[in-house]
Amino acid sequence: MGLVMDGRVWVFGDHINTDLMCPGAYQWGTWEEIRPHVLEACNPRFPKEVGPGDVIIAGRNFGCGSSREKAPKNLKHLGIRCVVAESFGRLFFRNCIAIGLPILPCGNVASRFETGDRARIDVEQAVVENCTRGLRLTAEPLSREMIDTLREGGIIALLRK
């Protein structure tokens, strides 16, 4: 999988927990049942308008809370290509690498973007650019193993080997 992407941005704040990405009342339902509620409580437009190739830019502690792996999987199903945040809940971070959803920690990133901007993200080089505003930010690089796992598309591919 290529780890450079270019996409439309959705901006979220601090402490967005996994319940918000996968509410308990719907988490065991079908994809059709869950889909309208993914991050609905943070931005009602998000589940309606998000599309393939979009990226999420967020503040601190993104994905805190429950271990529910469905949270990043729901984002992936919606077509989210990458999540950049100032910091991550540790379980969400691990789960993203495991399921092959590219992720990148980058300080002060949330204030540099607005929803609707275009971002170019190079996960391997740890660079985040706001193409709309002409800004370039340096992110914290992932480890070699994490990048390799993301390239494979996640752990399942490794398990099959």
């Binding site: 308990g24 079908t30 609905e40 789960n95």
Partner: protein, 417 residues
């Protein structure tokens, strides 16, 4: 240079090469446990054509998040778990006859001080109360662990909370933890380990320590330790044939930071919507009417918690506008509470009693909140929408505060009882 508890456990689990905080290692868990997520893990194993697992004797399975199942979808999930247990040869499978994983695991003697434990549920940090390095991973990573018996781990830095001072009557370990969250935030231990130490931590009961370690994850922690002392061993020795010993950090271990928390003047604490660190002392809480009071979850539904609540509810009635749910954390707790007459007190006071399990804590079944409703609970998360409607509000407090509030119909100070 001395080592922290996290460093000691991971050095052994990583194959004995010296480790230091910050290092990435591959570690072998001594135990893995799975609640309802085993269904998903099994599906992933099948997708990846993995037929057999590394060591079925190190795996514990049980069902807790929605027993008995409230929907067809969940019933199917539980059916898949039964199949998985059979096909993978998991001998230690309790089904729905044990309670919440974090309570059942130590009760059944699976938690050993100094061991490395991986669970599927974020509150796996609970077992740190016994000196175990216990944390959660997701389904896909669990599938990987089941196949290979190993996982990458970053050896965490450790922060220490040195807890001093005597707690006032009706102030519980839950209040201490909520106070720490309010003062230091839900990020204070992000990616790190916690050690709770000091005279007040040592003085806490095993149940009180479990509450603190349980909510360690709400401070962001990977592990949340107490030293394994004589109290820990007295609890575990009746429950396991395996050798258990004292376990703690070296006196000269290196900590990223040390925080002193004096609790001698601490009031009961309440965490307000929608974040765990949005905490205020009870005296600063105005008149907040409630619709539901929940005494349950892996945080605060042990015998000691039920005793405190029953002590307040005995001979009294739950407010007519409040529904109170009491759900013991495990079958062992339930049986003990029956024997002590606590369940009768709850029923006479007008509480609804549920089968041991997670109940409404994660909004999957029982006690789901309608729009505009307010719940005060002894559990651990008050996120928006977690217990039902996005327009509901959840407040977190100790079992004592939950019981007092159930009587008064609004958030109430338990010290007047």
């Amino acid at each position: 240079m001395g080592m922290t508890m996290a460093e000691k456990v991971l050095e052994r689990a990583g194959g004995k090469a010296p480790v230091r905080a910050g290092q990435y290692i591959t570690a072998k868990p001594d135990l893995v446990f799975m609640g309802d997520g085993l269904a998903d893990v099994y599906t992933i194993l099948q997708e990846a054509n993995v037929g057999s697992i590394w060591d079925a004797s190190k795996v514990v399975s049980l069902m807790d998040h929605a027993v008995p199942s409230p929907t067809i979808g969940l019933a199917e999930k539980y059916k898949t778990i039964r199949t998985a247990v059979r096909e993978l040869g998991i001998a230690t499978a309790y089904g729905e006859r044990v309670g919440i994983c974090h309570q059942a695991l130590p009760e059944k003697g699976h938690v050993i001080p100094g061991e490395f434990i991986l669970g599927l549920d974020s509150h796996s940090t609970t077992h740190g109360a016994f000196g175990a390095a216990s944390t959660a991973i997701g389904y896909t990573e669990m599938a990987y662990v089941l196949k290979t018996g190993a996982l990458w781990v970053r050896v965490p830095e450790t922060i220490k909370f040195n807890i001093l001072g005597e707690l006032s009557p009706r102030v519980m370990s839950k209040d201490v933890l909520l106070h720490i969250a309010g003062r230091y935030s839900v990020e204070v231990a992000q990616y790190k380990a916690i050690e709770f130490t000091g005279p007040t931590a040592r003085g806490m009961s095993v149940a009180g320590r479990m509450t603190m370690s349980n909510m360690g994850v709400e401070l962001g922690a990977k592990f949340a330790f107490f030293e394994a002392d004589e109290k820990t061993l007295a609890f575990l020795r009746q429950r396991t044939q395996r050798p258990v010993g004292l376990f703690g950090a070296d006196a000269d271990a290196r900590y990223e930071s040390v925080h002193e928390v004096d609790v001698s003047a601490l009031e009961p604490q309440v965490s307000l919507p929608h974040r765990v660190d949005n905490v205020a002392p009870i005296s600063a809480i105005g008149n907040i009417k409630i619709d539901q009071a929940f005494l349950g979850s892996c945080t605060n539904a042990r015998t000691e918690d039920l005793e405190v609540a029953a002590g307040i509810l005995e001979g009294r009635h739950i407010h007519r506008d409040v529904r109170m749910l009491v759900i013991p954390a495990s079958w062992e707790v339930y049986t003990e509470a029956m024997r002590k007459g606590l369940m009768e007190i709850f029923i006479r006071a007008g509480a609804l009693i549920g089968t041991p399990g997670c109940g409404p804590c994660c909004g999957t079944h029982q006690g789901i909140l309608a729009g505009g409703e307010r719940c005060i609970g002894s559990h651990n998360r008050n996120f928006k929408g977690r217990m039902g409607s996005n327009d509901a509000e959840v407040y977190l407090a100790s079992p004592a505060t939950v019981a007092a509030s159930a009587i008064e119909g609004c958030i109430a100070d338990p010290r007047t009882y």
